[in-house]
Symmetry: C3
Subunit: 434 residues, 3 copies
């Protein structure tokens, strides 16, 4: 923040170091590159806010005795996600020349510092650094999705080890199949911003985790379902709003430039799908459950957002509304179904991210004439098979070695006291435990 | 999010579909169009965040037994607002050629998908999609303003029906008088970003709703005022911050381009008016009420923001400070006055949005030499007469048919249990009801 | 928000008033100027959100009986900061031609309205208004840092007087030494975005305030430390996320343009330093305190952010990771040390902002070959000597006149009731006081 009104002596020296000096004659291409890059950076910071959104949503929909634990996981994941992506993930996901049949490739450890790559010669839309940080923010969200489903009973250290391996190795490897130009990309599979590559990949790991952990104590007794209400609906609602806010960058940034027509179309399809998801879930829950359930409506918005993510740039506005509305209806029945088969997912992560991730990916094959339903289905199945297997294996090894679940006593006391020796709301919790 | 490091084979195909291909020779006009459009999209997502701001402010300033209900309304309104605006509102507000005397016009149902309209040929500042989504975000805020004033006693379904009609029909119809190029626009009435078109229009509906509903139980007993404190000041304060945050887009985006001089001037006038509103309300409440009241200071910031909204681009910085300070003083006395005449407005929405909306609109006639005080007054009165009458009629029909107010028993239990069968903070509320 | 679809008759008239008319032939330089200015405005609104971040962090880490007071201070400070910066601060910090030995200069009262200054002739990166509002948002943060350290015992009026003088006079005066082109700038001292100029300057005032106030009642009894836990860890965690979010603008905007290479590099160094700070603090607290402490991890993220702020644009990515990790370790030991010497800093502000601000400033001399460790040390000492002395004097005069600390009884009841006659959570606090 140097000398804005006096001189520009210092800054030009810096420009020389890392970027071409802003010479007198700037071209239209320079300006366009700056717009594109700026939008991608704004998209990056919007995706960053999704981590606060997930933290709020998960904390709000679970009990107050596990809130510190949830927050701790969400803060840790972003650090783990960004650092592992810098060390290994980015180069696994975008392997460049070296690739084994479009299934696996690796460009080496660490992120580059080649000065040429930092400028407009790297791509038309952004610098190398922008590419890295935008993709890294995406990567971190995949593990966060799992966090909510396994909440209130998983050991902290075990979860952190899982998250490190999943976001550092599995997410980028399968990501490379499509976004890294791998075999599914060559087959014509389409997933604009990650209904499958991000949301389903997270959702499959949630299924594996929930299956291996088993339900929370007291959730299913003698075959009956005992709902365990979340401790703060304001936190949960704020989480939804922040996730939608972040989705402007998640989908809008996936255009990979500030292209006016495409980015604005994506804003419209994204917002209308989320709105239709709200209305779809509202009508369904009001009809089926006889009262308008706030947490279902929040999930309806997220369902619409996940649903539109695969095709936000290739479907019409009317299709976006239908995709969102169907997702909003689907998520309510999915939550009920998942509960009936005694898969205990405290926040509905599997229904939102997996059920609607699959729906959104298939919807591209239905609503876009340029894409094949069959290819979309192959993609869904391939990702499901690999992601579920990988997550199941990692969780199983952790279960066999470190253990996956806290003791019954620790679960009853809450993970905040047993794992962290802290309470989320000490002023009030003193009273409750009395 | 396709192939950032390998090739650009896929994306150009998309570009063909919805936008001109980014040919090698981009012009300065292309770059300028991209900047303008990007800023308008950023403004859109900032205005989106105002919905979380309203949700927090309203939930924070009301009782915890009605929190789920408030959140449900705020989540629903954004869906209703965006969808009705897509179906009918946008074409009512900007009717194009067809207009009946500048009072009413309608361009048809649904939003266009004409490919030509999506590009820079649509306008200098943004695409058709950007225009729609920015305006749609605005529309949804008008109904949200009402939500706070009628809180803690209105039936959920009745409110949703009102919001649908008001945001779908009334808001765009009166909006067309000025922003759609209607009769008030031709007369020279000025309202930059909506002190009257958004805030007063919402505020008049709040007056009608509060009048027809009557006060909350226990608010006025034997002629004495019994304050009902809001349940969470942190939520209320966060609401103010998020609304201010959104106002950068609400006012900054109303420039309708990224014009450097105008947008930055609007940022300065907006922020200094909000600051002066805080100081004005702080001094007033500290002097009149003998202690510094946080909720009044929060309303002072919002009062300054509403006040500057009509003229943020045409008044000087010093005028902005005066407008904000006056608004900050006004809002305190308005809240006291509204309470004295037994209009029960739990969050002070009438004082913030109507009183200061009127003040801000008239202030344009005082502080800008290019605008007439009389014309501004005519605009204020015309909007007041129509918006109040329309809201009164809609609310009256709803009252006569569906009913407007919950039963006494339901109000005592709280709308969360009676309408939603949920609690906002189950861990704690168990104790309170014991 | 005028006539988007019909004509552009009105807006061009405005353009004439404050900016050059957008003629048919726009140049690449015009477009680049618009990009730069737009990014600086986005950075401004990101820095604005840091105020909500500070409010949440401070409220979350203190007791619920002082929450209204904390929120009131944070809302007031932004108003005080922006208004004093408009009246005097901006012209003290960037004095232009007139300067006394690079130590003190002043360009007069008020902010300019010269039309020429509002256009691209003012600078290459932004308009005069953009310059002012971005710098003003920065200024307000310096006083906010103090707020947390002196919380739960300082008189409200006394704090507001201190904040007014410190942000209005001291911050801009010392800021001019470097960013205003003063003596330290001429010496080659480097502080990119304010590890010293903002964070240490705030931190030194925190030291003076904490020293003169003494510890909270019950914190140190018979030489033993009695921790006073914060009342809401979700608020505290949200505060950290919002501060990080704001830091994208704090550091990213300090590039003073949208230069693609520099801004994206700054995003990467900033995020990786924060991530490394989290991991550093996590490992340290898990090892030293035997359990993973959430508040320490939150402080670890902030420590990494403060640490990288001085050199975010001149260090390599690997250096950023090291700087962040060291900051994350440092902050844990600093919190323990500050507590041992009985300096009662409820939120760890001194450790985060001062300890890591010093570390970050010195790190530029270690990790960047272009900067001298000795010069960085001279800067650190000069700022420390002046800022601490100034803060000590102001606080001492206030203590001798208005008094600095509330009565014992008021502190026991909480500042919310004694200073504001309000409660943050009335629904619950009724029960607690029973």
């Amino acid at each position: 923040m140097q000398l804005p009104r006096k001189s520009f002596l210092i800054l030009p020296l810096l420009y020389v170091a890392v970027a071409p000096a802003p010479a007198a004659a700037q071209t239209a291409a320079d300006a366009m590159f700056a717009v594109n890059n700026t939008w991608m950076l704004v998209a990056t910071l919007l995706v960053f806010m999704m981590h606060l959104g997930f933290a709020f949503l998960e904390a709000g929909l679970t009990q107050s005795k596990n809130t510190v634990n949830i927050l701790f996981k969400n803060v840790s994941i972003i650090a783990i996600g960004l650092l592992t992506y810098a060390i290994v993930g980015f180069n696994l996901m975008y392997p460049g020349e070296f690739s084994m049949g479009g299934f696996f490739g690796f460009a080496g450890f660490g992120i580059g510092t080649d000065a040429a790559g930092l400028t407009s010669e790297y791509s038309e839309g952004y610098t190398y650094w922008t590419d890295f940080i935008f993709q890294a923010m995406f990567a971190a969200t995949a593990a966060t999705i799992v966090s909510g489903a396994v909440a209130e009973r998983i050991k902290l250290a075990s979860f952190l080890v899982f998250a490190t391996l999943y976001v550092g190795l599995v997410y980028p490897l399968v990501g490379s199949w499509k976004w890294g130009g791998g075999w599914l990309d060559e087959m014509g599979f389409y997933d604009f911003a990650g209904s499958t590559l991000v949301h389903s990949v997270g959702g499959w790991a949630a299924v594996a985790g929930v299956f291996l952990l088993g339900p929370r104590l007291g959730k299913y007794i003698n075959g009956r379902i005992h709902p365990i209400p979340g401790h703060s609906l304001p936190l949960a609602a704020a989480g939804m709003f922040l996730l939608w806010f972040g989705w402007f960058g998640f989908n809008g940034g996936s255009v990979l430039s500030a292209d006016p027509g495409l980015v604005s179309l994506v804003f419209v399809t994204t917002c209308l799908a989320a709105s239709a998801g709200i209305i779809g879930a509202m009508i369904t829950t009001w009809t089926v459950q006889k009262h308008p359930d706030l947490s279902m409506v929040l999930n309806g918005a997220l369902a619409g957002l996940v649903g539109i993510t695969a095709g936000a740039d290739v479907v019409s506005v009317m299709s976006a509304v239908i995709i969102g509305a169907v997702a909003g209806v689907l998520v309510v029945f999915s939550v009920i179904f998942i509960d009936r088969i005694k898969m205990d997912d405290p926040v509905g992560a599997i229904s939102v991210h997996l059920t609607c991730g699959i729906w959104g990916t298939l919807a591209v094959g239905i609503f876009s004439a340029d894409h094949s339903f069959l290819t979309q289905l192959i993609g869904v199945l391939a990702y499901g098979a690999f992601a579920f297997t990988a997550a199941f294996l990692i969780f199983s090894v952790i279960k066999a070695t470190m253990g996956l679940r806290v003791s019954e006593e620790d679960e009853r006391r809450g993970l905040d006291l047993s794992e962290h020796n802290m309470e989320a709301y000490p002023d009030y919790q003193i009273m409750i435990t009395r």
